[in-house]
Amino acid sequence: MFKDHANIINAISTAGEISGRKKLQKIVYIAKKLSFPFHEKFQFHFYGPYSEELTLRIEELCEMGYLNEVREKKAGYYQYCYSITDAGQDFLSIQEVEMPALEACLLDMNEQNARFLELVSTVLYFDTLEKAEVTEKIFTLKSKQKYTLEEIDEAYAYIDQLKTKAKPN
């Protein structure tokens, strides 16, 4: 019961704090694509893969008092930061969440900016396509982000790096 809730709380607890809804969405999606057991469904939206189910779950967890949401003013817009509460820690302590390899991946992803994670998650979303096709998709669907070929190469390299970290020892 509440296993999916516990997985999300565990991810935020492991990361310490995640700044921005977009970043949180992309981190969970990338973790899911790395085969960590997140079960939220994702669809392609403006910023790449997005899960309405995850948005709902986060809201629910805030309502339950397990997550803390703080609205912060950034340059010209608002951003939401998420961290675990004491009640969330208590809840997590009675749940069985076993994802030892997740920590290294999460900490790494949390150090990246949302724009780069958007690119990484988009590359992963099209992972059945050849790199040339993926590049074309990014240039067409994400033209406003103006990603460069170098950034796309970086995203591929980063995915390889994460896959190594995600492998159980």
Binding site: M1, G20, R21, K22, H39, K41, Q43, F44, H45, F46, Y47, Y50, L56, E59, E60, E63, M64, G65, G76, Y77, Y78, Q79, Y80, A87, F91, F126, K137, T140, L141
Partner: protein
């Protein structure tokens, strides 16, 4: 003549209770309707378990798919045609995507996907690009055509206007299901002036806009949507049936993994249980097949599977109380779980929290993090304004999410005092269940 331009000698029409007539003139559309993958949608109900609450809600995903096709056909043929922003070469693509957008739905989609960790959208993609009758027809239009149709449905197609016709906050999908579901459930909500909406819709590069004069029709549409979600889609009795259905599937999977010998072997479920479901397996599964197993499993030796199936088939549903997730309530839930175990009622199957949540309308402004495409109004002076900035009614509900949590339990088992009388009494008191 090119297959993509081929017209039927005589127009075919389907009588439809919502749109009066559905008109088919294109050979491609007619051929797609005749495929076995599309016909399978007759055996999947549009509203899943809702028929257990609203007995009329027996309509299928096939009728909804035809309805979405008809709305898109009216938009592109009667409203967009001849306008410079509309590319006529995208007409057939739009019609095919509209017709096929729900092709991958499984039986009782929501529970089915949740338990077996599946995604109907992925199966829609597979049916369109895989070795199927649908794919063969689309390939006759062009080598890349199946891929393009799949991309429109997956929202990854480069032409955003086409995508927005099928998937946005004011799209043909919603326009059909609100009216169709209202008609078949018999509720008085869900009605709005679609003819008016279509007449004032105008194509733009990335999405359709609504002329300012149609603002009140849009307001009506948004309020209809709001009412339908809470009066029909999230009806607590329907959710009770959904909870039981989910638990049946969980139980059957659990029994399979535990090596249980089923009296009625679940042949259709094996690949699902193993997590190795192929497209062919998936297409064989529909609601008629699933209900056959539920009836057969009423005779199983496993008491939980037998009981849950009997409940579903005979509509002996769980009762519910409001549940507000908070520390206190979570502690009460844990206490209830312990008492259920003591009473010999497995809480994993018989004590379930279910949540529903809806955001009737949302918009995003540049720089904000939201992900929904807003509805745009086209003013007389050519200016485009986001809907909630012009409509006070929409502004009042914009961005306001409503969530509802309920705790489901089997009242009949808790009232049965032939065993564990005192513990059951304690449970009833905690649930504030009258004797």
């Amino acid at each position: 003549m090119e297959y993509s331009r081929e017209k039927l000698q005589e127009e075919k029409v389907f009588k439809d209770p919502v749109h009066r007539y559905i008109h088919v003139r294109d050979r491609v559309i007619w051929d797609l309707i005749g495929t076995k993958e599309f016909q399978r949608l007759r055996r999947i109900k549009q509203l899943g378990t809702t028929y257990l609450t609203f007995h009329g809600a027996e309509h299928s995903r096939l009728s909804h798919s035809l309805g979405v096709y008809e709305i898109v056909r009216r938009i592109v043929d009667d409203v967009f045609e001849g306008r410079p922003e509309w590319k006529p070469e995208e007409r057939l693509l739009s019609l095919c995507a509209a017709l096929l957008h729900d092709l991958g739905h499984g039986p009782f989609s929501h529970s089915f996907e949740k338990v077996f960790d599946l995604d109907h959208e992925q199966f829609t993609q597979q049916i369109i690009v895989g070795d199927t009758e649908v794919n063969k027809i689309l390939l006759k239009v062009g080598r890349d055509f199946p891929k393009k149709v799949a991309e429109v449905i997956a929202k990854t197609y480069k032409g955003k206007l086409v995508v927005s016709l099928i998937s946005s906050q004011i799209d043909a999908d919603r326009m059909d299901y609100l009216q169709r579901d209202a008609y078949f459930t018999g509720v008085s909500y869900g009605h709005f002036d679609m003819e008016r909406l279509l007449r004032v819709m105008r194509p733009r590069e990335e999405h359709a806009v609504i002329k300012q004069s149609g603002m009140h029709a849009v307001e009506d549409y948004i309020m209809s949507r709001y009412q339908m979600y809470w009066q029909v889609y999230f009806h607590p009795v329907t959710r009770s049936a959904e909870v039981i259905l989910t638990k049946i599937l969980h139980r059957a999977k659990h029994l399979y993994e535990a090596g249980y010998e089923f009296a009625q072997e679940p042949h259709h479920f094996y690949s699902l249980f193993k997590g190795e479901v192929t497209l062919a397996d998936y297409l064989k599964m529909d609601e008629a097949v699933m209900l056959y197993y539920f009836e057969a499993w009423e005779e199983e030796n496993d008491a939980i599977l037998k009981d849950l199936c009997t409940r579903f088939v005979n509509r002996k549903l769980f009762k519910y109380v409001e549940f507000h997730p908070s520390n206190n309530q979570m502690n009460r839930l844990m206490e209830l779980r312990t008492l259920f175990k003591k009473a010999g009622i497995d809480p994993d199957y018989y004590l379930v929290v279910d949540s529903s949540s809806d955001l009737p309308y949302d918009f995003y402004r540049p720089g904000e993090e939201e992900e929904r495409l807003p509805i745009h109004l086209l003013k007389n002076n050519g200016e485009i304004r986001e809907l909630s900035r012009e409509s006070e009614i929409v502004d009042a509900i914009s961005g306001k999410r409503r969530t509802d949590h309920k705790l489901y339990y089997p009242a009949d088992l808790l009232r049965d005092e032939s065993t564990k009388k005192n513990i059951k009494k304690q449970i009833r008191e905690l649930l504030e269940l009258a004797d």
